[in-house]
Structure formats: structure tokens, C-alpha cells
Amino acid sequence: MTDARRGLGIAAAVALATLVVLAAAAPLIAAAMGHDITEADLLQRYEPPSLAHPLGTDELGRDVLLRLLYGGRISLTVGIVAAIMAASIGTVVGLLAGYFGGRLDALLMRVTDGVIALPLLPLLIVLAAVDLTELDLPPAIADSERVSLYRIILITALVGWTTVARLVRGATLSLKSRDFVRAAAALGAGHARIMAVHILPNAASPIIVATTLAVGQIILFESVLSFLGLGIQPPLPSWGNMLTNAQEVIWQAPLLAFYPGVLILITVSACNLLGDALQEWLDPRAVTRR
């Protein structure tokens, strides 16, 4: 790995860790600043940055910095949780397809290719527009304030698993004919045990890389859906839905439209850079190299 790439990877990891810590500490920061996230003050709209409000206030007089931090909690939670869910789906699909081969492989890979080829955003918009009350969900979930959060995690995970599935299938294909796997089979290990104990750990590198990249991708999907009014619903702040409001006040406060986007850009770049660096470091191709 070149020094420049390693440097970028480390910088990305540090940036991500900082963002996660800041977002996690948002309630503490709010307490320290003496504001509340929902505290609106119509007499103090569009305040310039000051000691009390380091990034000023928005169109309702709420503290911009705090809203960005709380928005980060939501956006990062969605990205990380949905990416892990997507990776789990992809791992199972890839393992089954690569290990059993034949018709199952053909079927699963056709489905994967089909999903990859689809225009995902229109599909996500349809999924996000589904009326949950028609699905007979328990009211405790359907009426919860956080239902938009659960829904966005679920639907982005549903479309985000394909890369992992393809990578895991590739790794499984080459691993299953290796001697240590054959030895395990000869010793009487069952299919499930071989997949879980012998193949999965050796396919970990591509899974880690693809999951890191998926976090960024899912944050992008979350932000655009929330921006369009189909993702995270106010009063829950996310970087995407903060931009919806900001778009309407471009003239009074262009900076309100600037901050959330920059944070999305930094977070997603960091995920992509980190994934790239991890890829070189872990070298998933080592699996296929004899």
C-alpha cells in the first residue's frame, strides 16, 4: 500500500470515529451548552454564529450545531445498522449460492443480477411511500415516532445486499475446493458447520470491505429519501431532512443548506476511503490467489 493511500485511510478512520463519538455524545454536548434540541426561539431566527450558538440558529431559532449532531446520530445509525443487516443478507445469499452451486446458485445470482440492474432510487421511493397501516403492523410500531427510522433501515438493507452477496459467493467458490475444507468434509463436518466455521471466517475480508462501503451508500440513500420527504420524518432530525427546510430558505440563510451536505459528504467519503484502504490492507484477492 502506498503511503498516501494509507494516510488517507487512517484520516478517514479518524474522521469517522470523531463523527461517531460526537454524535453519540450529542445529549452531553446539549447539556453542556444548556440548550435543548427542540428548543425553538422565534425571536432568534437566523442568528449568526456566537458563543451560545457556535453555528448560529435555523429558521425556527433552533441551534444548528445541536441539530447537526442529532441528525448525525440518526444518519449514522441508519447507515451502520442497515449496512450490517444488508451484509448479513448478502452473506447468507452468497454462502448458499457459492457452496451449493447448481440451480440454487443460478437462481440466487439471477435475483442478485436483477436487483443490481434495477434503478434503485425509484424502487426505494415506492417502498418508502407504502402505507404501514395497510400492513397490519402492531400499533406500537406503526404509530411510533421512530417508525420512519425503522422503515428506512429496513428498505435500504433490502436493496443494499447485492455487492456482499457477489463477493461472498466468489470467495466461497474458491474456498470450497481448498484442502482444509475437503479435510473437514472428510472428517464428517456437516454443510452448516463447514460454511460457518471453515468458509465464513476466510471470507471475512471482502465482507468487511463491502460493509464499510455500504455504510456510505446507505447514508446517501437515506439522505436523499429524507430530503424528498420520504425518509426520516420531522421532528426527528436527519442530515437529509434538514436540507429540505434549508432549501426553502436559500435566500435568507444559504449556510443552512451547506452544513448538512458537507457532513454527508465527509461521512460518505470517509466510508469510501476507509473501505478502499481496508481493501488493500486485507487484500480480499488473497482468497483467490493460490
Binding site: L118, P122, A129, F227, P260
Partner: protein
């Protein structure tokens, strides 16, 4: 070759059939059926009227029966009426399709013109400052939210500088160049989002191609560096790039949807978004299917281009189909 194309078309039709059922089902789950909308438009309707209307429109039947009825008339060329436009769905779609094609082809061409040369140049000087800049630029390009980039472009070029209009289409009848002027910002936005990925694929593929012996041979025989890269390595490096581009066609359409919405450009993407938001389900269904077909056709064309670029790749059955997935 013909067998392969036929196979792919059959496969594509299967995907479209499945998608149409899935989308039909999902749309049935959206808030408000047509009768709900009629009731909200006419408060004098009674509950009995609503029941009668539901039966009249077949809404009391199970979903698969309704889908079968829709599919039968769709296969006969009747896709129903758009609720918001009060016109047959296909009439609404036609001009939108042309607009989206203009935006996507424009952005695709610009993205290629930026991405490929940048990738080739970076690959010819790995580790140089130019390479690092291309690398960073690509990361920004693949990481930037499209809608935010569009917003920033509008703020900069339409609001602050006032050079270009913030809408994608002239408000009234206008000449060709006026149309082009309105397209600059949307096309530039979409191209900037796409170019980074192309540059990355191109760089990676070119670095791989430059490792081959025939490149060293060409250099040893006295071919210049530029000639080795453009004359010998490029054709081989393009093969994987074309494949990844084929897979990115759906992404291009997603980007077009956002771009169209941001620049109020009347294309397919904005139509899909507006029709879902406006409960115009006939239109949403057909528009979504069209988008899917568009993507599948794009993938097929790119796959055929892939074969044209590399005659070694066999089509049809056998190991030849085991291409880079």
C-alpha cells in the same frame, strides 16, 4: 449470438413481469385507493356509494385478480388513464422519455469525457500528484449527495452569479440554444456525480492492462508511452470498464431522478416521483416499468458492446457466461 440476445430478452421480460407484479402490489399498499380519492373530492358520497364504486372498479377483488385484469389490458396496449393529467398514460410518458434521454445521454457523454481521460492519465503516472488529485476528486464525486450538489450549483450559478437558469427547461417556447442553456446545470450536476466512478474504473483497469508483457514489448520496440497506452493498452483496459458502466446504468437513472426533481426538469424521474406523491398510480406503475425496461435495455446494449470489444469472450452456454459479475 442471436441465441444469446434472445435468451437475454426472455430473461429481461421475466424480470419485467416480476417487477410489474411487485410494483403493482406495493402501489396497492400506498395510502388512499382511487375511491378514497373520489370521496375526498366529493363529500356528498355516502358509505354505500363508496362500496358500490369499489365493486364497480373491482377494488373488492383480491390483489392477484386485479393484477391479472391490469396485465391483460396492458398487454393489449391499454395502460389506463393518468389521474393528474387526465390523459392516457402513454401520451404523458412519451415527451418525458425524450427529456430524460437528453439529460442522461448528455450527462453520460460529459462524464465519459471527464472520467476516462482522467483515469487514463492517473494510471500512466501512479503515485504522482495528478494521480492523487484524480483519486481525491473521484472520491468526492462518488460520495457527494446528488441533490446537495444540485442545490450548491443552483446557489452558485443561478443565485449568486446569475449566469445560468435554475430550471432545466425554458418556461415557454424557446429556441434550441435556449434549451441547451437550461440543460447545462442539470447535465453538469449529473455528469460530476458519475465521472468519479468512471475515472476509478478506468484507472484500475488501465493499471492492470499496463502490467502485461505486450505493453513492455511495445515499449521495447520503441513505441512512445502515449502510443503504448492509447494504441495497445486502452482497448484491453476498456473491457472491464464497459461492464461496470453497464451495471451503473440504474445508478445513472437514480441520479437523473434526483437531478430532474431539483431542476424542475420534466423527465421520467420527476414523473415517477410526482405520480407517487400525487397518488397517480396508473402513471406511477407504468413509469416505473419503463424505467426498469430502460435500465435492462441499457445493460443489454452494454453487454453486447463488451463482446464487440473483446472477441475472446464467448456468449451463450459454457464457461464464457461466467464473466465478471
Amino acid at each position: 449470438m442471436i441465441r444469446y440476445v434472445v435468451e437475454r430478452i426472455v430473461q429481461g421480460l421475466a424480470v419485467i413481469a416480476i417487477m410489474s407484479f411487485v410494483i403493482y402490489g406495493l402501489i396497492g399498499l400506498m395510502p388512499g385507493d382511487p375511491v378514497d380519492l373520489m370521496i375526498s373530492a366529493n363529500p356528498q358520497l355516502t358509505t354505500e356509494d363508496a362500496e358500490r364504486l369499489r365493486r364497480l372498479h373491482g377494488l373488492d377483488r383480491p390483489i392477484w385478480a386485479r393484477y391479472a385484469a391490469w396485465a391483460t389490458s396492458a398487454l393489449q396496449g391499454d395502460f389506463g388513464y393518468s389521474r393528474t393529467f387526465a390523459r392516457p398514460v402513454l401520451e404523458v410518458l412519451g415527451p418525458r422519455l425524450a427529456n430524460t434521454a437528453a439529460l442522461m445521454l448528455g450527462a453520460f457523454a460529459v462524464a465519459l469525457m471527464i472520467g476516462l481521460p482522467a483515469g487514463i492519465y492517473a494510471a500512466s503516472r501512479p503515485g504522482s500528484i495528478a494521480d492523487t488529485l484524480v483519486n481525491l476528486g473521484s472520491f468526492v464525486s462518488i460520495s457527494v449527495p446528488t441533490f446537495w450538489l444540485a442545490l450548491m450549483m443552483i446557489i452558485l450559478f443561478a443565485v449568486v452569479l446569475g449566469w445560468l437558469p435554475a430550471s432545466g427547461l425554458p418556461p415557454g417556447p424557446a429556441g434550441f440554444w435556449e434549451h441547451v442553456r437550461h440543460l447545462i446545470l442539470p447535465v453538469a450536476t449529473l455528469a460530476m456525480v458519475e465521472a468519479g466512478a468512471y475515472a476509478r474504473y478506468m484507472r484500475a483497469a488501465m493499471i492492470e492492462a499496463l502490467r502485461h508483457d505486450y505493453v513492455r514489448t511495445a515499449r521495447a520496440k520503441g513505441a512512445s508511452r502515449a502510443r503504448t497506452i492509447l494504441g495497445h493498452a486502452l482497448r484491453n483496459a476498456l473491457v472491464p470498464v464497459v461492464t461496470v458502466m453497464a451495471l451503473s446504468f440504474g445508478g445513472l437513472f437514480s441520479g437523473a431522478l434526483v437531478t430532474e426533481t431539483m431542476f424542475a426538469y420534466p423527465g421520467m424521474g420527476k414523473l415517477i416521483f410526482d405520480s407517487i406523491m400525487g397518488n397517480d398510480y396508473n402513471l406511477a406503475l407504468v413509469a416505473l416499468l419503463f424505467a426498469t425496461i430502460l435500465t435492462l435495455v441499457g445493460n443489454l446494449v452494454a453487454d453486447l458492446a463488451y463482446v464487440a470489444l473483446d472477441p475472446r469472450i464467448g456468449l451463450g452456454a459454457g464457461p464464457g457466461t461466467e464473466r465478471a459479475r
